[in-house]
Subunit: 251 residues, 2 copies
DNA sequence: CGCGATTTGTGCACGAGTTCACAAGCGCCT
DNA sequence: AGGCGCTTGTGAACTCGTGCACAAATCGCG
């Protein structure tokens, strides 16, 4: 998706830690592997096979091995992967060796929940500041943090060196907030508002739309009932649901 | 991802409404198009070009046209798409002509917010029941609905004909809840718990992991700072950030 | 010390998804 | 009526991701 080999097929020469140019699909799965590894480490295993880790992460083992091979060779043939080493390696790759500060904008229904979500803290993030445009909400303490007015965003972001912002405002306000975040130096945005954001090049945006997820499920429901509800109906002649392999939709 | 052509390249014969066997990637984008269309309809336009709709939905126009072409030919060359017609068509495809009942399990931090999320209601869903395992919480009214104990899941799900379940419990409880949902007849699950669910064939699962989204952003942050912070550093020899094309991560 | 059991890392083929580029179709204007 | 400009729908090339299957590597044991 961005930075590129200048000339050759892989333009490194000195190559020390050597940013390995991971496929985006792999990057999206690394956090899942990391979570599975932490769970395994807690149980106490020192090493784990690709097969076992793959099951724990909900993928097949070939994919997992290929993903991990992009990070380098951290497994031992005949044995498996060293759990602790692999955790370190993935955390380094994801940039989780430092605890990253996050700004959360919009302390409404959803924002309130996000501010209290323990999963952020336990997985490498620190919610460093809460913002809202509503003066009524400014000053309100949430989870040990006072809500600030959005006008303070730039100053606070600089002081706390915040590079990641989360938008949990209504859709109508989201673009303005995004602009403010970018101005404040934020270069990664997680957007929960149901709308498309336009940001300058160099800023990454990921979108999570809760209703969309349900709508996708709805599609599959619709499809299922069309297939089963009509006994000798149209569609596929045989009543067998005929999957054979895995079910479950990918993320 | 599942049901399949028995023999021929496209095993229809009678083909009445003719389930068109959409690519999964297309399905995932349809809700976004739908949202954009509703916004456009509100402004008052009767028709819209693929170019304009694509911009509103954050994709390029070729992709949008190909996606829509899978539903059938609902555009007029030289003019564009009829907004109202297209809305109907996408809503039908997604199975949103009926308002779908959803069960929400886990009324903690996040579940509470989801129960009050207006976006569900406005986009075709009705939260029909709230469940929790904690007796303390049972009876608590949230948004006009009383929290029920999870043991009542089966009865209520049947009575309300609930086919979609949302899991917003801690990870430790999620698998048990999923099993209970499946037993209660639920065939689509939206999982907010950070863990892999195993479900029988025929049940769809989609996962939303808030921390994972941040971790993916963290990766890109890490990459960015490695490229810019080190002037003539290690890694790639030339300091040029060299993007050139689009930025912004896909969902 | 060598052999077999085990598991990683990867070359290759395949399939899904994306993008380009253009022919076909439609409305409008003259 | 005819031509022109605009926009859709789609064939074809291409990129990206996946999965199989196997060679290479390591450990343990006789």
């Amino acid at each position: 998706m961005s930075q590129h080999r200048p000339g050759g097929p892989n333009g490194r020469s000195g190559g020390v830690p050597a940013l390995p140019d991971l496929p985006e699909a792999t990057v999206a799965r690394l956090p899942e592997y990391l979570r599975a590894l932490h769970a395994i480490a807690e149980v106490g295993s020192d090493t784990i096979s690709s097969e076992a880790l793959a099951t724990a992460a909900g993928v097949n083992s070939a994919k997992l091995r290929k993903d991990l091979s992009h990070l380098g060779s951290y497994g031992t043939r005949g044995v498996g992967y060293d759990v602790a080493l692999l955790i370190d390696q993935i955390e380094f790759t994801l940039g989780l060796t430092q605890r990253r500060a996050v700004a959360l904008v919009g302390v409404g229904n959803l924002g309130h929940a996000l501010a209290g979500y323990a999963g952020f803290a336990s997985r490498g993030f620190r919610i460093a500041a809460l913002f809202d445009a509503d003066p009524e909400r400014v000053g309100e303490p949430i989870n040990g943090l006072n809500v600030l007015h959005i006008s303070e965003l730039a100053t606070v972001a600089a002081a706390e060196s915040i590079a990641i912002g989360v938008i949990a405002t209504p859709a109508a306000a989201a673009q303005d907030v995004a602009d403010a975040l970018v101005t404040a130096g934020v270069t990664s945005i997680l957007n929960f508002a149901p709308c498309v954001l336009s940001v300058p090049e160099g800023v990454d945006v990921r979108k999570v739309d809760l209703a969309i997820e349900l709508q996708i499920l709805s599609f599959h429901e619709h499809r299922k009932s069309a297939l089963t509800a009509l006994p000798g109906g149209y569609g596929s002649p045989n009543g067998l649901a005929a999957t054979g392999t895995e079910e479950a939709v990918g993320t």
